[in-house]
């Protein structure tokens, strides 16, 4: 699918710019042009498709669906984790969503399964993973994110931690909003999806280009396998350290993933790379600051620890399976 893009990159670098094939600069530049075009094409397609699917789900519907199934707890957790992927969710909505769910009588653990899955399985990350590593890795990313969300939610639910939710949360009465998202026509849906996709890509494009730029530089100038001993499969601490480094790095998934594919080439193992990426996207400092408004510090700490452990375990698991 991308061979015309490769031909274009070859043409620009080796013919138009007349840089020698096989030189460091040439290979870095070629990589940059090829990757930028490829990633933006795939990103556009994938974000568009996911956004379109998402337009059929709303948090209000999600909440009602979960409230209906709250007695079948296990199913509710799975449902919550799955809905976490498809419902539109900006991290500023974390607090109102949390309150809305709790107020509807959805168990705390189920609410967390939803809240964890939402940022963990990120559409931009998914698109870029697919672009860089193919379907298998993209699926592994979704499945492991889901499993972490389900298990973390179940654990939080088991401990009966409601007392660590800020008291005012239970006192809030949620008003009734009339069906805002009335039946939309297909044309309207496509138009809105298009607008959202363009807007999102406009927002992340700088990070993507910076990420690809650093990746391209590494591609040309750092030899393959340079990090193999430091963060390869054989270093038992690599996953753990990568997760810790990822937490305070509030970067966009968009900037991290073009880098991740380069890290792979340098010898960082798949599990370690995935753990790093997940901790960057799922455990962000700004979101924790937001969640602090509804969660007492102890529950917030439990939340971070459980998700962190889940990510580390996933990392080890994948190092074990794929390497």
């Amino acid at each position: 699918m991308f061979s015309p893009v490769q031909k274009f990159a070859d043409f620009v670098v080796y013919n138009l710019l007349n840089i020698k094939e096989g030189s460091k600069l040439g290979s870095a530049l070629n990589f940059f042009i090829f990757d930028t075009i490829k990633i933006f094409i795939l990103l556009f397609i994938i974000v568009f498709v996911i956004t379109f699917i998402r337009s059929f789900f709303s948090p209000e519907k999600t909440r009602d669906l979960l409230a209906k199934n709250k007695r079948k707890t296990f199913i509710a957790h799975i449902l919550a984790a799955m809905l976490g992927i498809v419902t539109p969710f900006c991290s500023c909505s974390a607090v109102p969503l949390f309150i809305g769910f709790v107020e509807a009588g959805i168990p705390l653990g189920v609410t967390f399964s939803y809240l964890i899955a939402a940022p963990m399985v990120n559409e931009v990350a998914l698109g870029l993973l697919y672009a860089n590593f193919g379907l298998k890795i993209a699926l592994i990313y979704i499945i492991s994110g889901e499993i972490i969300a389900i298990i973390s939610g179940i654990i939080i639910g088991k401990f009966g931690l409601e007392k660590y939710v800020e008291d005012y949360v239970f006192k809030i009465k949620v008003g009734n909003v009339e069906a805002l998202e009335q039946k939309k026509t297909l044309k309207q849906r496509i138009k809105e999806t298009w607008q959202f996709t363009v807007e999102l890509i406009r927002k992340v494009r700088v990070y993507v280009v910076i990420g690809i730029g650093i990746g391209a530089w590494m591609h040309g100038y750092i030899p393959t396998g340079a990090l193999a001993t430091l963060a390869g499969k054989d270093n038992p601490f690599a996953v753990f350290i990568a997760t810790l480094i990822g937490i305070p790095l509030y970067s966009n998934a968009a900037g991290i993933i073009p880098l991740v594919s380069e890290l792979r080439r340098l010898g960082v193992s798949m599990g370690t790379s995935l753990a790093f990426m997940m901790s960057v996207t799922a455990l962000s400092l700004p979101e924790m600051i937001l969640l602090r408004r509804v969660l007492k510090p102890k529950l917030l700490a439990i939340f971070v620890s459980i998700v962190g452990c889940g990510i580390v375990l996933t990392g080890y698991l994948f190092n074990f399976i794929i390497g």
């Binding site: 709303s58 948090p59 209000e60 909440r63 539109p88 969710f89 900006c90 991290s91 500023c92 909505s93 607090v95 109102p96 969503l97 309150i99 809305g100 107020e103 005012y168 809030i172 009465k173 949620v174 008003g175 009734n176 909003v177 009339e178 805002l180 809105e192 607008q195 959202f196 807007e199 937001l290 408004r293």
Partner: protein, 80 residues
Amino acid sequence: MVIKILGGGCANCKKLMENAKKAAEKLGIEASFEEVKDYEKILGYGVMRTPALVVNEKVVLSGRVAGIEEIKEFLKKENA
């Protein structure tokens, strides 16, 4: 006309406020603008996704930033 933007004050909320102001200006509607950041009040409107746009106490949009043209339609409808 009273226009309120509900949200925690992130970039999306600011953008929506900006668009709403421009839309009102283009239509020549006199409006007062208010940012509502208190979650209790936000949820009082039944809104779980921010940012949201409230026109004369009626929620007309939630969960995304609408463009100026789209907001103009909302304002026209409420002004009629």
